[in-house]
Symmetry: C2
Subunit: 552 residues, 2 copies
């Protein structure tokens, strides 16, 4: 640890996270079994793939009698991208295990799933942990993106666990990591390995949620950090009255982050990828939506605004998807001929001649810079790197071109100057909000409770999150209950379903009901920075998304 | 006003800013005159230019007896770029004027200095003001960049003021705006117009400070917002262990923002433009400094880091400045021939052939994208737009090129993947920190006290800022005392001296003493978000820069 800590870091180390009432007497809970839960879709296929971990009951925990249990040795890993609160899951797990029996031990395997197979670990002690309580980041034990999915990996992990007397593995990760947690649970149960597996729902993207998991941890904090910045920029836009700010927001394929930030800040434009896909909107339609707001605001004398753009947008636009597919084909076939051309204009003309009419029109509409980015900057498999496209800049250029046309037609009278931003890394390792600090600590403590029941293949579940923490409901959900079959990389695989924005859900409906007004009027809300102290309505309330989903 | 406000906005509207003890009984203060203060340089020329407002005493205020004064009508304008706390200067001014006499009136002239000449104003009432107390932004009355410097403008402003019975103008601005405030004060005093002028020190850049002005308002809040984000990114870098983040920070010509953020977050690299200029460093030397840190950290297995880059850096690098000057010449002379070339490679070769040997070497070292940006994207006067250069991206490309060379020589064994960021607009309109809320309110209230003395050509001064607010010293400094003569746009002009980073000052020395360690080790500090509530050490402390300057 660094020996210099900021005053806030110091104050946060001393914060005592709140637990659900059921866990306050310790992790040795009273366990109630609910009805058995089948996979929500493709039930038979999931049962066939997971004969030992399907059709298991939902568990709900009540307060135990505080009696000591047997000591247990546990492994924990962080998997995938950072999310605020990961350290608190580990802190809660540690305290939960010690509440079962002070002789329990917790081992942190380092650098993600590969730590488990490569046997890189540290024992987590109270002293070590003290410097990480309520902090952001995954630096305590690191994370990684190795996929744990082969029997060889499972065997290695088992051997490493056995050597340390470990009988439970807690995997903190997103939908993919928890899918793999389920594979591991099934594998160990089938061979009676004596190791149970528990998952915890992590991701700032907010796309790991379902009937039993109300939200993934980190989503609250990350969206609050982004909303702080968006609000600051809105106020700057409204003060300088000079720029349209185009802000891309992290969140890969799901637009939950953009939606939450849009609701929180009432930006002029909030694009939702899922809607673009559902309505089969063209790139030109998306551009027109924004240009329309710019023109209307300009007519009111307001030559400024803020537009929020979800990271994955471009991949959800059907005509753009077709273009990308065609480009991949052309570049694979004609790589050499294309590579021999040195001038940009001639490169573009070469491509244009080989595209279908529809894709040619889309390609022709793009600025040269993006044309070159699309055709030159490819991944090791030769594919276009869609994620590298600066969508926020692409859209400013296309909107500008559209407005230039409208200006000639007299449909736009105003100025259009832009600034672009991408917010992502700013929010993944922020100090967790009080909500995420409490929620994560509870998820970890609750994982210890699941371990105390001896049951495997479950995800730690803490629900009723819009109520105060003492009313939160602690329990466990079979991982298989969240699964369905999906076609990935050429084969049908059982996976936890990724939760995209639902167009008939309350959060999207709230946006849809207000966006025509927000697109034209200046209705900005300034959320300000995350507060750890102060009145509860300032420091403790979670997302608008969750409140709306729960009917509040 | 928007009728939806966030919980924090609501809480902040109710915050009561703290005042210096001398102002707590009202703005009708006891005024002590100190020694007469000459201009700190070019004294005779300043005296000649400002015969009526030179050699005036420094004023220090003591608590008055609370007696009412005559009502006074006052104008206020915001000038230049946004800074957190501008609304609070106006709130303090309003409350100060009302403390003199409830019949006093305050008029806000809209859109900056041009509002004063174009007679665009609103009367600021208690109700109107209530929605803006302790908020960020300049949206209350807007701002602008019109320079108030000609007699015609002064006459128009006078006529508009006279029509409203206004006898004092408060100008909230940076060094340029306060220079113009001084010109205006002198002009009115000379003609006995009966209108006094008071300045207030505003700018997030932190470059308006001197023996009497400890800091400009907004610097505290803006650097805290940027430091929050830098800290979050540091934690992400240290968790993912995958990227070097190059972060450009707003601040035009001065590097105070980068320096404060560097001290606060202990980033691996903090570049200071003033040092680059003083040491006449070449672009290659700057690149080598960064590449050196990357290589040393890679040798320790740490292929990640954070580098802070001041916005104005590129203009401080001597060899780059020469290149720009040569490019301006070439492009002016050979615009047509250059414009006729279509291929980038040939464009670059054309330029290269016309540069001096030294500049040719610099130009040749640049990536093609930057070469084209430098030669194609010119301002209306045909000059290279240096401010448009994405310095953060330029440096990643040059560092990569350097490391590729070192790799071949075996001097670098590691990976170098980058992410770039530019933080500026995120911090200019943030809700002011408690410090800036208090400081700005005090500056405004104190301006009312200056008005009560009837003296013109002063800047509102609140000092001893590292002590609690009740120990702050209220007073006034003659604007001419901060002036010297500078050569600008072909002529010698009296201007308030811009305070650049002093290389023998304590803040820079602190950086210099630690940076070799920070460049190699991971010594990150995570400042977290601005806190409005909670313990004083978390919520009320101002910048490290000021503490060091005051010997703390």
């Amino acid at each position: 640890m660094n020996n210099v800590v900021s005053p806030i870091q110091k104050a946060r180390l001393a914060y005592a996270p709140k637990l659900p009432a059921a866990l306050r007497a310790g992790a040795n809970v009273k366990c109630e079994e609910g009805p058995k839960q089948k996979a929500f879709a493709d039930t038979e296929k999931i049962e066939a793939r997971f004969p030992n971990t399907s059709n298991m009951p939902v568990l709900t925990f009540g307060a135990g009698n505080g009696a000591a249990a047997k000591p247990v040795n546990v492994a924990v890993i962080l998997s995938g991208g950072q999310a605020p609160g990961g350290h608190n899951v580990i802190a809660g797990l540690f305290d939960g295990l010690k509440s079962l029996n002070p002789a329990s031990r917790l081992y942190g395997f380092k650098g993600g799933p590969s730590g488990l197979t490569d046997n890189k670990y540290i024992e987590i002690t109270a002293d070590f942990l003290a410097g990480f309580r309520n902090t952001g980041g995954f630096d305590m034990i690191g994370s990684g993106r190795t996929k744990l999915e082969t029997p060889e990996q499972f065997e290695k992990a088992e051997a490493n666990c056995k050597a340390l007397g470990i009988t439970a593995i807690v995997i903190i990760g997103g939908d993919d990591s928890n899918t793999n947690a389920c594979l591991l649970a099934e594998y160990y149960k089938a061979k009676n390995a004596g190791i149970i597996v528990v998952g915890c729902p992590k991701t700032i993207d907010g796309d790991l949620k379902n009937a039993f998991i109300e939200t993934s941890f980190g989503f609250d904090t990350a969206t609050k950090v982004y909303s702080e910045l968006i609000g600051n920029i809105e106020r700057d836009a409204n003060s300088a009255k000079k720029y349209w700010h185009f802000i891309k927001l992290m969140g890969r394929s799901a637009s939950h982050i953009a939606l939450e930030c849009g609701l929180r800040t009432q930006a002029n434009i909030t694009l939702i990828s899922e809607e673009v896909a559902a309505k089969k909107q063209t790139l030109d339609q998306v551009v027109t939506t924004i240009a329309d707001s710019v023109a209307k605001r300009a007519a009111n004398g307001e030559n400024f605004g803020v537009a929020l753009i979800p990271e994955g947008l471009i991949e959800f636009i059907p005509d753009f998807k077709v273009l990308i597919a065609e480009l991949n084909d052309i570049l694979a076939k004609d790589a050499e001929a294309y590579g021999a051309i040195t001038e940009n204009d001639r490169k573009a003309a070469f491509i244009l001649g080989k595209l279908t009419e529809k894709s040619a029109a889309v390609f022709a509409s793009l600025p040269m810079e993006i044309k070159m980015q699309l055709t030159m900057d490819r991944d090791p498999h030769g594919n276009v790197q869609v994620s590298r496209i600066e969508t926020e800049k692409l859209l400013t250029q296309l909107v500008k071109a559209k407005l230039d046309g409208w200006k000639k037609e007299g449909k736009f009278v105003g100025k259009f100057s832009t600034q672009t931003h991408f917010f992502g890394y700013e929010g993944r390792c922020s100090m967790p909000s009080n909500f995420d600090a409490d929620y994560c600590y509870s998820l970890g403590f609750n994982a210890a409770a699941i371990i105390s029941t001896g049951k495997t293949g479950y995800m730690s579940s803490v629900r009723n999150l819009i109520a105060p923490a003492d009313q939160w409901i602690a329990g466990a959900i079979p991982l298989t209950a969240m699964m369905n079959m999906e076609h990935r990389h050429g084969e049908d695989k059982p996976v936890i379903k990724k939760a995209l924005v639902e167009l008939d859900g309350a959060p999207f409906k709230m946006l849809a009901a207000n966006r025509d007004k927000w697109a034209v009027e200046t209705s900005y809300v300034y959320p300000g920075p995350i507060q750890f102290f102060g009145p509860s309505e300032v420091a403790d309330i979670t997302t608008i998304t969750l409140a709306l989903e729960k009917g509040k």
